[in-house]
Amino acid sequence: MLALGLAMVGIQFFSRMGTDDPGLALHATAFIVAGGIFVSLVAGLALIRREQADAAEEVFGVLPAGPSSKAGGKVLALLTMVAAFLALSLWAVFALFAWREVPGVFYGRATAYLLLYWAVPFVIAGLIGMAVGIWVKSRLVYLLFAAIWVLIGPFNLSLMEQAMVTFAVDLTAPLAWLNLGQTDPNAPYDPVYGLPMEIRRWVQKGVWLLVAVCLLLLALKRRGAVLLVPLVLAIPLLVLYNQESQVVNTRYEADSVQRNDWLYYRDHGQPAFAADDSYRITAYDIDLRTHRLLQADVTMEVVPERAVREIVFTLYHQLRVRDVKVQGKAAAFEQREDQVRVTFAETVAEGQVQNVRVSYAGISSPAFFANEQAVLLPAYFPWYPQEGSRQAMTLRGADLIRNGPDELYGQAPEREVSYSLRYDGPQPMYTNLTGSGKAPNGLTVTAGPLTERMVGGTRVVLPDSFYRGAAQVPGFLRDQAAYRSEIERDLGLPEREAASQVFFLSVPRETVSDPDLEWHLGDHSIVSVTQMFNHGGLFADRYLIASSALNEAVRTPEYLAQSGEMRMLFQRAYLYGYGTRNGWYRANDRPPLKIVAEDDLRVKNKEGSENTRKLISYLDQHMHDRAEMQAFFRAWLAEMNGGTPVDWPRMLGLLEKK
């Protein structure tokens, strides 16, 4: 069995390392965990029944402390077996890591991961196997093992999913508690969040271990103080487990990345309070702590632009305000949706600076996490109180659009705000704050398995798991700047300087249709990446980079309000022309715009196919006429920003006007 197990370890890591994704190589070992749990149950049974098989149990039964010594020896044997398997597996993993030149930090992470998800669950299962083996003498023990395996294995949620739907009961919490393996075996590796090893998971395993020890002691008929010890030890662990903490879930849990914000903003589409432009914030002093959840004390310099009695600012709804102080005195406040309304003790005159201190804590969005493991708090996300009254996100169909501050859509920074930050959380930590302590479009804070380097004059922060992809970053930045510049010129948009800092972070996609790789925030930009960027040519994928630059350049609320079909058409049409002019496509290549026409034909959408062909024909005719193309696309963009839906007839009308 050991040989088979190690063979599986070797095959799994060998096959995964080819994609330069050591995180996924570790995370996708749920099947090894599942198999190991069953094997450990059986091993525990075999250990405890050894004397029965040799008809020697009575011999040890009469020795002083014979049975307990024997039991202790068997537990040690179990630990030895698990330790041996772990050691050999680590040896295989390290050898493969070395072969693929994986950075040294991953060796320690792999060890911790295998300890948490392999070693400890195997020991727990072995102890349970021993206890069950003592209690159940018949062959039904194997059926019990099958049932236990289903309950405590990494696919308990998958198997119980339908039952939950049928009986309309949410069992995700107890099933997560029972699951000793990976919560989501199919989740991709998040290069910023890293491997899921939050404190809560360690605590869960600790409690389980103590429960398994208790079960074994009960089976051995031990009572009294010996039994109390693990029970007493379990209490503080249970308290620790139940403390509020952020664990990023990736399946269909109510608080998962996919569902948490989607569900909330489906039902809470509008801000609770009207838009408020009665003040501006000129400075922030932020004391940020991210141990298990986000806690912050933020002091703002609020400058009223007219006489006001109350102001509204935006703060993510899950970050619950504890108290607000204005000029050192407690102030009344009301928190609803993503807004907090603060009422001053008396009307404040225009220009009269107010010191407003807000203390809050809570679980941040699963997409923008902040816990003991990693922090991803971009500037456009209201993780600290921000001016105005807006919902942090808006749900449009299947798209969850992030609503940044208005300045972002203006694509030009209006003013710079001062920030001072004190931080206590995972390291290393990076922000966009430079020596000046000022930023035009908010404060981004990120921490975890990251690293930074200078590329030309640009400061780049990226995951440390990008040990291969990092080499392509200079080319990416160069291409991105070139594309942005041309796009801005072609579409008549204000030209912006490239950001001096670029953060490559695992920000989730907003839409299903737009290649929303980048957010440009003036002094810094955030590029959305996955671990796949470490392998292969995504950083050199010019279509991806150009379409993302285009999307970022034209992004306005009005543009985003257009249908996904029209937005995609705009992008593909522009890039068809751009790509053809710049020799992207060879003779037999099929640019995305042409694929659309063919697909429409295939699904018998004759009209759609014909329309697309008209567009292609127009572009083919005029694509070398730069002025013509610029005029056309500027007109089209103006329509898209016109505030009313643009459909095919309106778009084709633009062709006819030409």
């Binding site: 088979l4 095959i11 069953f38 049974l45 062959r139 093992f145 099958a146």
Partner: protein
């Protein structure tokens, strides 16, 4: 004079004890899935595929618990009964029983020949796997571990880790019979190899307690 093929199936059933009833219980549970899942084949077929074939290994393993695992099992090899009869023939008879159970389960849920053929091929594989594991390892627990580990590996990796050894189709709707037959052929070949290796191991077995 050739050694006779002798069966005492009633005794074999009783010797398995309560373990003999496990596949029957699982069969009943499988049929309860249909109303629970409101007849949705998208949910039913994967549930059936992941659970039912795995338990085809059950009888193949428990049939041999006394012969191969208990002290004194070698006595049975000293009787004038062929190892063929004691081994693969007995396992095959119980597999036929499991095949009939499969037909009943599929018939109760939503009789489809293609689904029956799909499950039957996978059951044949698992029965062979259990048989071979038991004759090789001579331990019930470890043999079950082999079956369960195989199931876990294929299901959790979607059959992608070692595609050559994958028997699952991972379909969520009924497939045409010819497609099922095409995909089931490698499964049947692997199953046959396992059955053959199981009997070879049983035939050659000379290690006794």
């Amino acid at each position: 004079m050739r050694t006779a093929m002798r069966f005492d199936l009633r005794f074999d059933w009783r010797v398995m004890g309560t373990a003999a009833y496990v596949p029957l219980i699982v069969a009943v549970v499988m049929t309860l899935f249909e109303p629970l899942m409101r007849g949705s084949l998208r949910q039913l077929i994967p549930a059936l595929e992941f659970i039912w074939p795995l338990f085809a290994a059950w009888w193949s393993i428990f049939l041999f618990q006394d012969v191969l695992e208990e002290p004194g099992g070698e006595t049975i090899f000293s009787y004038p009964v062929s190892r063929f009869s004691l081994g693969i023939a007995r396992a095959a008879v119980f597999f036929l029983g499991y095949a009939m159970l499969t037909a009943w389960v599929v018939g109760v849920i939503d009789f489809s020949l293609s689904l029956f053929v799909q499950l039957l091929a996978e059951c044949y594989f698992y029965a062979g796997l259990g048989f071979f594991a038991m004759t090789l390892l001579r331990r019930t627990g470890w043999s079950l571990s082999v079956a369960f580990c195989y199931a876990g590996m294929q299901i959790l990796t979607g059959g992608k880790l070692i595609p050559l050894l994958n028997v699952y189709l991972f379909n969520q709707e009924l497939l045409p019979l010819d497609l099922v037959l095409q995909h089931s052929l490698p499964t049947l070949v692997m199953g046959t190899v396992l059955w053959g290796m199981g009997q070879w191991s049983f035939q050659k077995s000379g290690a006794y307690h």
